[in-house]
């Protein structure tokens, strides 16, 4: 089997998308604004600035794919679309699997498309604590604009699968608050392949929304370019240098971009690493600190009935009853058989017996609003995250599992598989209670996340934050960060829309001060 290859077909990529095939020799480019990363942060900045007349270049380490490249071959998609083939981990007492997209469109290509505004109390908290102007009222126009662009809507009822209806039935029976999920989709038909590139084009990832818009207004996208560092003249960012990323991890021709404004938008792990590789330090010493993750735990419920949960939209509902308790949300998610098997600690015959029941499984997830903060350190030029879940967060996870288990048993689940490395199963509420009331070592948890945030947090205080309220790095000229690393705290909900809204706001700041960035 061959490793991930860019799937751009001759002559079909837009004329201002360039890939490794177009960059055989060293390349030097000039522009007003160079954006590193094409996901939820980079793509909106590119679209807004290109429309305002800036000459914009977007550099993306991943390859350029189109909707037709997204097939049902899960592992091929993972290898192509996920950073490090999905094998990234935060180290700690219990390692946490981190999933990040690496393709034009960034993580929006592989996320579930949940489009939620930042909770108002969190925005108010930022105003008070980080002293930034993100009041709900100030953010409102940016959220509205993003929602229009990505078509944030509730799902069509007929596209919702049985697993999600079961979740709703369970929550309704308990009298818990359950809400329709809002997702960036135009009549999602429920292929349930969000995490592997939407094969129908319904999900409005940056790849099919902001990037086409940016291209339409003249931006240029260079895929397969790995940026090594930001170039500096004194404390002014003047561009970037990088290399063409070759298919097997090698480095190809040199790519130099000279720009009046440099916008790192590589996510909470790679933006701090890029700053560090470039020798950029924050007076606060907070680059790479303050990592929050929204750790997820999953629980598999087995039913007698055939659920076939791969048929239907991804996360149609969210149980929000316990948000005030810090437990975050519950949702039903489908994982394809390979990923399900990988996530089970079982093996051999037992694994086979369980997997034979694949269509009777409902995989549910629980998102924790974390109080823990971790860090990202740059080791040999690469980011490595460290994160030890706080006792308080682990206690919330236990409580969440207990509640979620109750929900499933209450509507007839026969068995639950719990997220512990030692393969714990519960076949009754009493058994579940017994398991969860016993001490669970931190190392036993099987955790994962797709929400990495906060490592270049914004704030007015130069001694406590990395950027100002518009992502402009304190004490560095012409460098504006636009990704999840800006978030001062965890936000308790899916961060895509928050990132997009903040990026749009940042772009507005650049347009408002356009003269500064024209020479």
């Amino acid at each position: 089997m061959v490793a991930a290859k860019a799937a751009v077909y001759e002559g079909t990529a837009p004329s201002n998308v360039f890939t490794r095939h177009d960059m055989r020799g060293d390349t030097v480019l000039d522009c007003d604004v160079v954006i590193i990363g094409s996901g939820a942060g980079g793509a909106p900045v590119a679209a807004e600035l290109a429309e305002a007349g800036f000459d914009v270049i977007v550099l993306e380490e991943g390859s350029y794919y189109q909707t037709r490249d997204f097939t049902a071959d899960t592992s091929k998609m993972v290898r192509q679309l996920y950073r490090d083939g999905g094998a990234t981990m935060a180290l700690g007492t219990s390692p946490i699997m981190l999933q990040e997209g690496k393709a034009v469109g960034g993580s929006t290509v592989i996320n579930g498309g949940m489009s939620w505004r930042t909770p108002e109390d969190i925005l108010e908290h930022w105003v008070k604590d980080a002293r930034i102007g993100t009041t709900p009222k100030e953010m409102e126009p940016y959220f509205e604009r993003v929602e229009k662009r990505i078509h944030a809507r509730v799902n069509d009822k007929e596209a919702i699968g049985r697993d999600n209806w079961l979740l709703k039935e369970g929550a309704d029976k308990k009298g818990w608050k359950i809400i329709d999920n809002i997702r960036n989709q135009v009549h999602c038909a429920g292929s349930n392949r969000c995490a592997f590139g939407c094969p129908t084009g319904a999900k409005q990832s940056a790849l099919v929304s902001y990037i086409p818009r940016a291209l339409h207004f003249g931006a240029r996208v260079y895929a397969d370019v790995r940026v090594d560092k930001i170039t500096l003249q004194g404390k002014r960012a003047t561009g970037v240098v990088g290399r063409v990323a070759l298919p097997n991890g090698g480095a190809g021709a040199k790519v130099t971009v000279r720009a009046n404004l440099v916008v790192p938008a590589c996510g909470s792990l790679h933006t701090p690493a890029l700053l560090e590789r470039s020798g950029l330090k924050s007076p606060s010493g907070r680059v790479g600190k303050n990592l929050t993750l929204h750790p997820n735990v999953k629980m598999i419920a087995m039913f007698d009935e055939d659920v076939s949960s791969y048929r239907g939209v991804h996360q149609a509902f969210q149980v929000r009853e316990f948000v005030p308790e810090g437990i975050g949300t519950f949702a039903a998610i489908n994982l394809p058989p390979g990923v399900t098997a990988m996530s089970l600690p079982h093996r051999g015959r037992v694994l086979g017996e369980l997997m034979d029941q694949y269509n009777h499984m409902v995989v549910s997830g629980l998102l924790i609003e974390d109080h823990t903060t971790g860090s990202v350190r740059t080791i040999a030029g690469r980011p490595q995250s460290f994160y030890d879940m706080a006792k308080e967060d682990l206690a919330n996870a236990v409580r969440g599992l207990s509640l979620l288990g109750d929900l499933w048993f209450n509507i007839g689940a026969k068995k639950l598989i719990l997220p512990f490395h030692h393969a714990v199963e519960a076949t009754s509420p009493a058994e579940l209670k017994k398991i969860l009331s016993a001490p669970i070592p931190a190392s036993a948890w099987e955790l994962f996340t797709v929400h990495m945030m906060g490592t270049c947090a914004m704030g007015a205080d130069r001694t406590a934050s990395v950027t100002d309220e518009f992502g402009m790095m304190h004490d560095v000229d012409r460098l504006m960060i636009a990704d999840a690393s800006l978030l001062p705290t965890a936000i308790r909900t899916n961060p895509m829309e928050t990132i997009m809204a903040l990026a749009t706001r940042n772009a507005g700041h650049v347009i408002d001060n356009a003269r500064r960035f024209l020479s």
Binding site: Q233, G234, K235, R236, P283, A460, D461, R462, T463, H474, D475, V476, D477, R478
Partner: protein
């Protein structure tokens, strides 16, 4: 001490001849806290400086040792004016080192003060050698037209406005240029609006 806890100074339409409690509080603030206040200052508006003289107080490290008083530089005045070539310039005036909260008496006399230690005032250029604090303005004594043998030529001061709501109070941080090297931070100084230049 946080900026918010500093008492507000008078508006500069009728400045007091005495240092305000805000300025005196800054003078008594520990050095590391001054670092925080300086870092969180805002960029001064040159128009708010031009045409005015400011009372200055030097805040040396180890403030209990009265070396600034002994050297006669504890109190001073800085004035700002627009040069004929359009550049914003500034000068220093030596001051009698009486009580810190006493009047500022110019040397050699209030009627004929000595102007010396001239400097140019510019926004900090991120690409220049003196780019330590981008949120400050630079008082560059090397470009003030001082005599070639004048030791003042080596001074490089960064100036920030302490509180964005108060254009009367500023905090400066001094460095000394020795070729390409910069020695510092030598000291902080507090500037407070004093009188029309």
């Amino acid at each position: 001490m946080s900026v918010a806890s500093l008492p507000k100074a008078h508006t500069f339409s009728a400045p007091s001849p005495f240092p305000t409690s805000a300025a005196l509080a800054l003078e008594a603030t520990p050095f590391d806290q001054l670092d925080d206040i300086f870092m969180n200052g805002t960029t001064p508006d040159p128009e708010q400086l031009e045409g005015w003289e400011f009372r200055g107080i030097n805040r040396m490290p180890l403030n209990n040792v009265p070396w600034a008083v002994a050297a006669g530089i504890k109190k001073f005045v800085k004035g700002f004016y627009r040069g004929n070539d359009g550049r914003l310039m500034g000068y220093n005036v030596p001051i009698v080192c009486n009580a810190l909260d006493g009047r500022w008496h110019y040397k050699p006399s209030d009627e004929a003060p000595k102007h010396w230690g001239f400097f140019e005032v510019t926004p900090v250029d991120a690409t220049a050698r003196d780019n330590k604090f981008l949120h400050a303005v630079l008082l560059d004594y090397g470009k003030g037209g001082n005599a070639i043998y004048d030791v003042m030529r080596g001074l490089r001061d960064y100036l920030v406005q302490v509180d964005p709501r108060n254009p009367d109070l500023y905090l400066g941080r001094a460095y000394y240029a020795l070729g390409p090297a910069r020695l510092g931070k030598l000291n902080y100084f507090i500037l407070e609006r004093h009188r029309r230049a």
